[in-house]
């Protein structure tokens, strides 16, 4: 991923998290993202237009719960189901993808966005994703997040 694309991705992730879920995020060195026995969720989607590609976001299950809670305005302590966490992550990546397309290519081109898909991720797969050069690392309110986009 080109440096300017990863910088744009980070900016979009920060903005969408703040506007959608009132959560604050910052880019960090991937080495700082040490998770032990965490359970992870991973969402991906594709975009097709004059340029095609894939975007992916991985978060901990805890972050998924916090994301769903914040989007829905659920008080701390109340439980949201796993389906809501997954749904929240899918909506998050959907909005990030749309915003990123505008940031990179402007308002002219039309992109066909796929329906986001999400699945659970093992610690091994999380580490593999983290090791990929195109992946960026972020901390969302002290919880780790990985993201990547390829054009």
């Amino acid at each position: 991923m080109e440096k300017n694309h990863s910088e744009l991705l980070i900016k979009v992730l920060e903005k969408v998290l703040e506007q959608l879920a009132f959560m604050f995020a910052e880019a960090v060195e991937k080495g700082e993202l040490v998770g032990e026995r965490e359970r992870y969720l991973y969402a991906t989607m594709t975009f097709k237009g004059h340029t095609s590609g894939t975007i992916g976001i991985a978060i901990t299950e805890e972050t998924g719960k916090a994301l769903a809670n914040n989007i829905l305005g659920i008080e701390e302590g109340e439980e949201v189901g796993e389906d809501k966490s997954i749904d929240a992550l899918k909506e998050f990546i959907n909005i990030v993808c749309g915003q990123l397309m505008t940031k990179v290519f402007g308002e002219g081109p039309v992109f066909n966005l796929s329906v986001p898909e999400a699945r659970k991720l093992t610690t091994e797969k999380w580490e593999e994703l983290k090791a990929r050069p195109e992946t960026v690392g972020m901390m969302v309110e002290e919880m780790p997040m990985l993201a990547h986009v390829s054009f």
């Binding site: 769903a68 389906d83 809501k84 909005i95 749309g98 397309m101 308002e107 039309v110 992109f111 966005l113």
Partner: protein
């Protein structure tokens, strides 16, 4: 006047957010119906009287655009105003949708104020498509 509103989005989160935001924005709602895709949306429209539709574009089974095309082909359904609520930000896309009769376009994420203003504009002064971000 309280409105019967249909929200068509495959995300239960977004359906809940729209429901909550309508309340926060003090939009008078009589009944709020939900559908997970365009096909279900058309079913709700034949089952209930609906004053306003909020619809996403990218959904499985039937997209929002396909649903709008089906509505346009129906003498009664084509009179119901549709507001697109989508993540897409293409002006070209908005122009295409305006030509299909879409009244307004709200880009996610949105605030209660944007939703309130769009409802006011669409239900109060129909016929003036506007992009809201």
């Amino acid at each position: 006047m309280a409105y019967n509103i249909l929200v068509v989005d495959d995300s239960s989160i977004i359906r809940s957010v729209i429901k909550k935001t309508l309340k926060l924005a003090e939009v008078p709602v009589n009944e709020l119906y939900e559908a997970e895709n365009g096909k279900e949306g058309l079913e709700r429209l034949t089952e209930h009287w609906v004053d306003l539709v909020f619809a996403d574009i990218n959904m499985p089974v039937m997209t929002g655009i396909e649903m709008i095309d089906k509505m346009a082909a129906d003498g009664l359904l084509k009179t119901i105003p549709v507001v697109i609520v989508s993540t897409e930000g293409s002006a070209t896309r908005f122009d295409e949708l305006s030509k299909k009769g879409v009244k307004a376009y709200i880009r996610k994420p949105f605030t209660p104020e944007v939703l309130r203003d769009v409802v006011k504009q669409v239900m109060g002064e129909e016929g003036h498509g506007e992009k809201s971000q």
